[in-house]
Amino acid sequence: MCDTCGCNLTPGNKHLAFKPVPKGATAVSVLKGLLAKNDDQAVHNREHFDRRGILAINLMSSPGSGKTALLEATLVALKDEFTCAVIEGDLETENDAERIRAKGVQAHQIVTGTACHLDAHLVHDALHQMSLDGVDILFIENVGNLVCPASFDLGQHLNVTLLSVTEGDDKPAKYPVMFRAADAMLLTKTDLLAVLDDFECDKAEAHLRNLANPAPVMRLSARKDLGMDAWLAWLRAQLAAQRARVAQGQSRRPAIQSDGMKYHSVTA
């Protein structure tokens, strides 16, 4: 078949080839979000969660800021209350999923190879390999990275961004796209504050407010069991809110996509 020179035209299909198209160049206005395909898949994922009454939370942070340690402590604390499941995203290894499974919780590891973020399609494929029956809260631990994961909606309801006190209190100012997307910011490893003289929790919070982000800031240490109660209470409240939304046939998108969209003159 040749579509270049017209040699595949026959009297039978000629009318299909000569559709009335104006000659030359035409400009077409599109105004569609570049990540529309990812966003469509994210909406589909969210429908999966809402149908089952699941609260989906996307955990984002630098590598090594304590996402998995936070999950380990959280899963143990909530063991008798809720059924949780975890999706782990890493470039390589099953290490994190194995740490979660060791706590008796279902975990699926997404190995991204070289990709620096999870996207809605990767999460969808993972969901189909998991048993979501009876799950109350699904945690998605994104690839450790303060840049790329913020731009991809996975279908989660909430973004939780961790900032460990060893990283510097100006991270929200340095990575505004990431911290603007946070529905909650957790300052982690606070037990180390005693030996650090250059991290001020109030400054980190001020940098977050400079991004016009009203998200709650919680200070905790998962390893030393400090400040975990406020985080667990926040999770309980968010699950209750999700159940109330589901009962009314409503859903919730994470911070970044919903805010301001109504003010935009062009919408995706």
Binding site: L9, P22, V28, L35, S151, R180, L211
Partner: protein, 122 residues
């Protein structure tokens, strides 16, 4: 780092537009992009030829419309310019603002070349 994934999504969308309009190829692609979208225009521009290789837009020019960062203040109602990591109201200084411009990542328009018309036999 993730600009290649964005470039691939862009190619898919432009491809769909070419199909919709029965065009032969795209010659100009305009993308509206704001700093808060988390996508660097220069990196997207260098990733685009990789994603577009062999497609009906490999010769297309990629043009960016840079959206300025602007916020709407919920306290005083002013609309002011803002910096990427300081989204506070430029008039009253309050941080209760909404971003009204600067986080877009939009395929705004495409210029298409339609098939050179082969005159059908009489």
């Amino acid at each position: 780092m993730h600009e290649l994934a964005v470039a691939q999504a862009l190619v898919e969308q432009v491809d769909a537009v070419i199909d919709q309009h029965n065009a032969a190829q795209a010659c100009m692609i305009r993308v509206r992009i704001g700093p808060l979208a988390g996508v660097v225009p220069e990196l997207l521009a260098s990733a685009f030829p990789l994603a577009a290789a062999g497609s009906r837009m490999e010769h297309a020019a990629l043009e960016f419309i840079h959206a300025p960062i602007q916020v709407h203040c919920q306290t005083c109602g002013a609309e002011t310019d803002a910096a990427m990591n300081r989204l506070v109201c430029g008039a009253c200084g309050d941080w209760h603002t909404q971003v009204v411009s600067g986080d877009e990542l939009l395929l705004e328009s495409v210029e298409l070349e339609t098939t050179p018309s082969l005159t059908p036999d009489p």
